[in-house]
């Protein structure tokens, strides 16, 4: 079962978003579903008076850890190895995939169960393993649904948020033999439970992601609501845990801060059902941890973008983003969509993802909900500068900005240009103003074209005020805005 990676639309985010918005009822349904989760997050955050302190604390811990990363990576490795963990390092996605394959082949593993790991998505692990004749079953229910449908997840926490229960019902009818037309979530979940249980029991190896890795103890923490990660590694005798190098925390005590923030930010729950702490392998079994760079060290080098490594993959930024809610995760064509994805993906592949930093109205809500205080909207703006410097801004935009700058740098030209525009526009027939060339005018009227600009009115007013017996002139008290 192939699991294609997310691919950007050839014309970038705007074209994909266009298509999503075109189905207005569905777009509004998607928007409301995610807003509901944002509201749950708000209630959970409000329940802790220390919420903003927790955010500050988390940001400080991350800043310290990322700055001191080589030290903590070595400390983690030593402590993990002391307990019998096999620690592997991968410079990039390719190496990561090779290492995982190597472990599987060593154990003649043919059947793998995998819990949610955005890192393995990023490395496109599934298609790679499948090419080598290995069955990979994503066990998170949302992930399994999209896997069966052969599409990528559209949200990093809620992979199937873009699907209605009828869609899931159809998919399960085809693949799991559920009653066609049946769409009761309870019934469908029960069917998935049975189906996936078989997979857990038959699996040779279990792969998980890592929510947090603790340098001081050499342990890793995996958080789920479904119990799929735990089932996936409690039965097979080999556990492979894949993590980005930025997932480290210095001390076990630091886990408190992050565990308190994660689920509340992601779904508004106080904690996930299971928060599992793995210190060393099960007796008689193996635990492998694969630590992956894949561009993270480059991001770390940048003063502007380093803080994006704080990310704990909670998805809160997606839930609050008014653009994500109305365009859907697939419109980003990247492993991680939404605000954080629109920094991380272009950072790794600027040409491929150049439309993403512009898929943003700069509202700043993402920055406010981020539990680790990444200045997301500022980084998105800064990234636009990076793209311009790399010549990845369309020529038409570059030319028009140069032209605009030219005009705006010359007061007389600005004033004259404005006057001409205000004089000409009202005289043009409507079809000349509102046509395919006028994107603003598709659904909006243009602003009115007043006969006089403020600077003209101000000059008149000043002149009148300076007249010997002049009071300020009688400009209209009925606001003609």
């Amino acid at each position: 079962m192939s699991h294609p990676s997310a691919q950007p639309h050839s014309a970038g985010h705007p074209a994909a978003a266009d298509a999503f918005v075109a189905n207005e009822p569905r777009a509004h349904w998607h928007d409301k579903a995610l807003w509901f989760i944002r509201e749950k997050r708000d209630r959970a955050a409000a329940s802790l008076p220390e919420w903003e302190t927790l955010r500050d604390r988390a940001a400080q811990i991350k800043a310290h850890t990322i700055a001191n990363l080589p030290h903590y990576l070595e400390e983690f490795e030593a402590n993990a190895q002391r307990m019998g963990v096999k620690v592997h390092w991968a410079a990039d996605a390719k190496e990561h995939n090779k290492i995982v394959l190597g472990i599987l082949q060593q154990h003649n593993a043919k059947k793998v169960v995998k819990s949610k790991s955005m890192l393995t998505e990023e490395c496109h692990l599934n298609p790679f393993l499948e090419q080598h004749g290995i069955e990979v079953v994503d066990t998170d229910l949302g992930e399994r649904i999209v896997q069966l449908r052969e599409e990528p997840p559209s949200h990093i926490v809620l992979p199937a948020i873009h699907l209605k229960k009828q869609d899931v019902g159809d998919t399960f009818a085809t693949h799991l033999g559920t009653t066609p037309g049946a769409d009761d979530p309870q019934y469908l979940t029960e069917a998935a439970r049975g189906h996936l249980r078989e997979k857990f029991v038959a699996a040779d190896v279990g792969i998980t992601g890592v929510n947090f890795a603790v340098a001081e103890t050499g342990g890793i923490v995996v958080c789920t609501n479904e119990g799929n990660a735990d089932l996936g590694v409690a039965l097979p005798s080999v556990h492979i845990a894949c993590m980005g190098i930025e997932k480290l925390l210095p001390r076990a005590a630091d886990l408190a801060v992050f565990v308190r923030l994660l689920a509340r930010s992601a779904t508004g729950q106080p904690i996930t059902t299971y928060t599992s702490h793995f210190h060393g392998p099960r007796p008689g079994c193996e635990l492998h941890i694969v630590m992956v760079d894949n561009g993270r060290s480059d991001i770390r080098a940048s003063d502007d973008f380093r803080r994006s490594l704080n990310c704990i993959r909670c998805g809160a930024c997606m839930n609050t983003c008014p653009v994500y809610r109305r365009s859907g995760g697939h419109s980003y064509g990247s492993t991680v969509p939404g605000p954080i994805g629109s920094i991380l993906s272009p950072a790794m592949e600027p040409e491929k993802h150049k439309s993403l930093p512009f898929a943003c109205s700069l509202c700043g809500s993402c920055t406010d909900v981020c539990p680790v205080k990444i200045d997301l909207h500022h980084q998105l703006l800064t990234f636009r500068r990076e793209l311009a410097l790399k010549n990845l801004i369309p020529l038409s935009k570059r030319v028009s900005m140069k032209l605009l700058s030219f005009v705006l740098s010359r007061t007389w030209l600005f004033a004259v240009g404005g006057k001409v525009m205000r004089w000409v526009m009202p005289k043009l027939p409507r079809f000349m103003v509102y046509n395919r060339m006028n994107a603003w005018g598709k659904q909006r009227e243009l602003p009115p074209m007043p006969p006089q600009s403020f600077r003209e009115l101000y000059a008149i007013r000043k002149h009148m005020v300076n007249k010997p017996n002049g009071e300020a002139s009688s400009h209209s008290t009925k606001g003609a805005a």
């Binding site: 579903a33 509901f36 008076p49 302190t53 604390r57 400080q60 811990i61 310290h64 700055a67 080589p70 990576l73 019998g84 390092w89 991968a90 190496e95 998170d140 229910l141 949302g142 649904i145 809620l158 992979p159 699907l163 209605k164 229960k165 899931v168 979530p185 979940t189 029960e190 439970r193 029991v201 103890t217 609501n225 479904e226 119990g227 799929n228 735990d230 039965l235 190098i245 210095p250 001390r251 076990a252 005590a253 886990l255 408190a256 801060v257 565990v259 308190r260 779904t267 106080p270 904690i271 059902t273 299971y274 928060t275 702490h277 210190h279 060393g280 630590m291 760079d293 060290s297 080098a301």
Partner: protein, 199 residues
Amino acid sequence: MNAREKILTKLRQQVLPVPPLPGPDGPWITYADRAAQFSAALATVGGQAVRVASQAEALSHLAQLPVMAKAKRVASFLPDVDRANVDLNLVTDPHTLEDVDVTLVQGQFGVAENAAVWIQENSAPLRASLFICQHLVILLPERDLIDNMHQAYERIGRFGPGFGVFVSGPSKTADIEQSLVIGAHGARSATLYLLQNDR
């Protein structure tokens, strides 16, 4: 240069000022009535907290539950559970636990802020039993309730080798059109007995 050296060298080449690591203390929430907060939190995550005097009372309450009445295979990490018919000492392959209906276990402590119970491997040596069962039953002395996760990690102290898990309620998912379904892959129900006495 292998990947390890490549990565560490690259990271060390970037000379970054290291901001201080903050200490663990803070204005962390506490509760006047931990049992009430714990029970309320457990209810919101789909679990059930029952206050009883002792393990004996817990077991007799449990015996009344339909879950128990229908249970064919019961595994218990607690001693003196008559109903238990899976001898965990004889289990070498966790796969054989696939048909366990109910698992009984003692929690080390419970966290009021989020109804999470810490279960450490030494009290549940077969970790699979916690996840593969259909129904999880946890016994926890009320005096082992603490306020928040900071206290939790302090209480755990040093992590030695092994497995430990915070369990908060039954397994669940909302992956199908945001409809909450209790009982995903792990336990379908989580019943927790708060013991007024220690046993």
